[in-house]
């Protein structure tokens, strides 16, 4: 009888004990620990509490609403075993403490051969952190930061630290400090990523021989900043509207032997900004509607510019800090297409202009001495200022293209020009009074 009563008492206690909040979540780590090596765990459509450490090879697959929420004190998911696969998860709430011994991330990878697919990361210091991790694949992730203005209080979308041979593709990163930051990371490949509203969309430091293709950078403070990194390939990327007092599409700083091919630089403060860089090949790029197409500091030598379309920029190219004569504006008889910026004839129709283009300007001095000059780059007054100074001040050669390419047929907006022309003709053709009639007298002639 006593035993029966004791049993009933204990049993009744279990009824009153408050069930653990998200008991499944509490147990995610336990479930992972209980799994065998190589197991596949399918998660449900709910929120699991982190943080979790994965220390064996396994696959975690979530559903549309599967969330792993960290406790805000560390990495939400730490991958410490190789060949782990994570798919379809939302990861949120990593530690944000900047005084901690390490920088936290939504997902921190310490090992090789892992795969991350369709992961969404929010409210985390870094999005994904690769720490001495090689041969990982990170694809279709979406990382959301705190917004463009926040630099110090948050980390990078994808942070690559001493990590090589990783593949990063089709990721979308928005509002983090830097979109992708490579520090001592070599031979990594990045394709078709979309990075916006960050400080630098792409930031390479001491990282060599990486490939960066087909990525789009919009509305960052700087599109891509390549610093102290060599032999990179940047191809088919789009640098669009990276616009601000310090902004640029691409910055090459102390970066050598890089290939910048077939990229589009559109509406940036500076399309390409080159400082203390050597032997970079800039080829086949379209550099248009930037305030300054190419800003070249004289500390840079032996860049080769060939086959680029450089047109409709406020200033096509400017050399600052001395003469830039050690850079080459044509290669093997092929220069650049300067579009409408410089009139050119090609009477023998060989695709190469009949005479070299030399651009002289006095603006370099103003830009060099006074940073506020950038505020005038959109002003039509700049053209007049240039013309006036042409006669008065000693101008310097900004570039000399010995073999400029004959301009491809311009894509003028014919409708606009035709209509405006028609309006102007109509106004003028009817004599000088028409303007007054048009705007006054109730449209009546008196």
């Amino acid at each position: 009888m006593k035993k029966l009563l004791l049993f009933l008492f204990v049993f009744s206690l279990t009824i009153f004990i408050y069930p653990e909040k998200n008991s499944a979540a509490e147990n995610l780590q336990a479930i992972i620990d209980s799994l065998e090596e190589g197991a596949v765990l399918k998660l449900e459509d709910k929120t699991y509490e982190g943080n979790i450490v994965i220390n064996k090879e396994l696959t975690l697959i979530g559903k549309a609403k599967t969330v792993i929420k960290g406790d805000g004190t560390g990495n939400v998911i730490s991958i410490k075993a190789s060949n782990v696969t994570l798919k379809k998860l939302t990861v949120t709430n990593s530690g944000m403490d900047r005084n901690s011994p390490e920088e936290y991330a939504g997902i921190k990878i310490y090992t090789n051969g892992n795969i991350l697919e369709h992961i969404k990361i929010t409210h985390s210091f870094h999005g994904i952190y690769l720490s001495q991790a090689h041969h990982n694949k990170i694809t279709y992730t979406q990382i959301q930061g705190m917004g463009k203005g926040e630099i110090a209080a948050q980390g990078n979308g994808i942070h690559v630290y001493y990590a090589n041979h990783n593949l990063l593709s089709h990721n979308t990163i928005e509002g983090t400090r830097d979109g992708m930051f490579f520090e001592y990371g070599n031979n990594n490949e990045s394709y078709e990523n979309n990075i916006s509203d960050t400080r630098y969309g792409l930031h390479y430091m001491y990282s060599d021989e990486n490939i960066f293709k087909g990525n789009t950078f919009t509305m960052n403070t700087g599109g891509a900043a390549v610093m102290n990194s060599n032999r990179l390939l940047l191809e088919d990327n789009h640098f669009i509207v990276n616009y601000g007092n310090q902004s640029f599409g691409l910055l090459l700083l102390q970066a050598n032997d890089n290939q910048i091919k077939n990229n589009t630089f559109y509406m940036n403060q500076r399309g390409i900004y080159i400082d203390q860089a050597t032997r970079n090949a800039i080829q086949g790029n379209k550099i248009s509607q930037n305030q300054i197409g190419i800003e070249l500091w004289a500390s840079s030598n032996e860049q080769v510019f060939t086959g680029n379309l450089i047109t409709e920029n406020t200033i096509s190219a400017v050399t600052i800090g001395g003469t830039g004569e050690t850079n080459f504006w044509s290669h093997e008889g092929k220069g650049n297409d300067w579009g409408n910026s410089f009139p050119l004839t090609d009477l023998n129709q060989n695709g190469i202009g009949d005479f070299p283009i030399t651009y002289r300007s006095s603006l370099y001095q103003l830009i060099e001495d006074q940073e506020l000059s950038y505020l005038f780059l959109k002003s039509p007054a700049l053209a007049i200022y240039e013309k006036m100074n042409a006669a008065l001040v000693d101008e310097k050669v900004m570039f000399n293209d010995p073999h400029p390419l004959a301009a491809a047929k311009g894509n003028y907006n014919l409708i606009l020009f035709a209509a405006l022309g028609l309006a102007a003709v109509l106004i003028l053709i009817k004599g000088r009074h028409l303007l007054c009639i048009t705007f006054g007298r109730n449209g009546r002639k008196i």
């Binding site: 463009k148 203005g149 630099i151 916006s196 509203d197 400080r199 789009t216 919009t218 509305m219 403070t221 669009i240 509207v241 616009y243 601000g244 007092n245 310090q246 902004s247 559109y266 509406m267 103003l366 001495d369 006074q370 940073e371 506020l372 000059s373 505020l375 005038f376 959109k378 002003s379 039509p380 007054a381 700049l382 007049i384 200022y385 907006n413 409708i415 606009l416 209509a419 405006l420 309006a423 009074h433 303007l435 007054c436 009639i437 048009t438 705007f439 006054g440 007298r441 109730n442 449209g443 009546r444 008196i446």
Partner: protein, 265 residues
Amino acid sequence: MHYIWKEWKENIRGKGLWLALSIIVLISVSILFRSTALSFDKGFYVLLINLFDTIIYFIPILCLFIGAFSIFQEKEQKTLIMLLTKKDSYTSFLLRKSLGLYAVVLIPILVWFFLYLLLLKFNFQLDMKAYFIFILAIVTLSLVFLQMGAAIGSFSSSRMQIIGYTIFVWFYFFFLHDFILLSFLPDVTHENVKLFSSLYFLNPLQSVRMFLETGMGVYSFGHMSRLLKAFMWTEPVFFLLGNLLFWLITSIITGITFHRKEGFE
């Protein structure tokens, strides 16, 4: 209200307003066609910046003409004398006339940009805040130049004078103002940068542009130097408001002080 109604009736009969509006419509549609290749999510901003950069050449001169000729027409048709001999002073006439002008010019523009938004919706991901800022920029620009136009209309005594003054004002803000500042640029230091900045933002084109580009989040002012911080000593929106007030008040005072009641051919 009578003035607005009168202004409206006069303008729909005239061609000026329709010419101005059709130019704006034409430009915005052609920019839309040019921008269809832009990306869905960010193309909206590129389009607005491009549209603003193009339209900024037309709105000032059109508003100047509309404002100036609207006032001058009252002189030519002797309606000004009639209005003033009743109970109106010139000040109240000018203020009411200005309100009429604002309503008549801005309402069609606002209607058009509302329709334009519908067209944009098919091509881009909209950002209503950015669009609102764009509209605000256009409205401010129109207000400033309409009022300047009204002032020109007030003190001009012939149509040739109006054309001359209008072109001069347009030319001044497009070229001369910045050109003068560019000439002083090498002498700008931390001590006098605030004055320089005030003069820079006195140009409606610059203050409107700065407001638009920073307001839409396109232009980023990160890591500013000490000089640049001193240059941007207040928010772009306050530069814009200051500019708007300054030019409205200056134009109204100029219009009232130097007005002439008679106009001739």
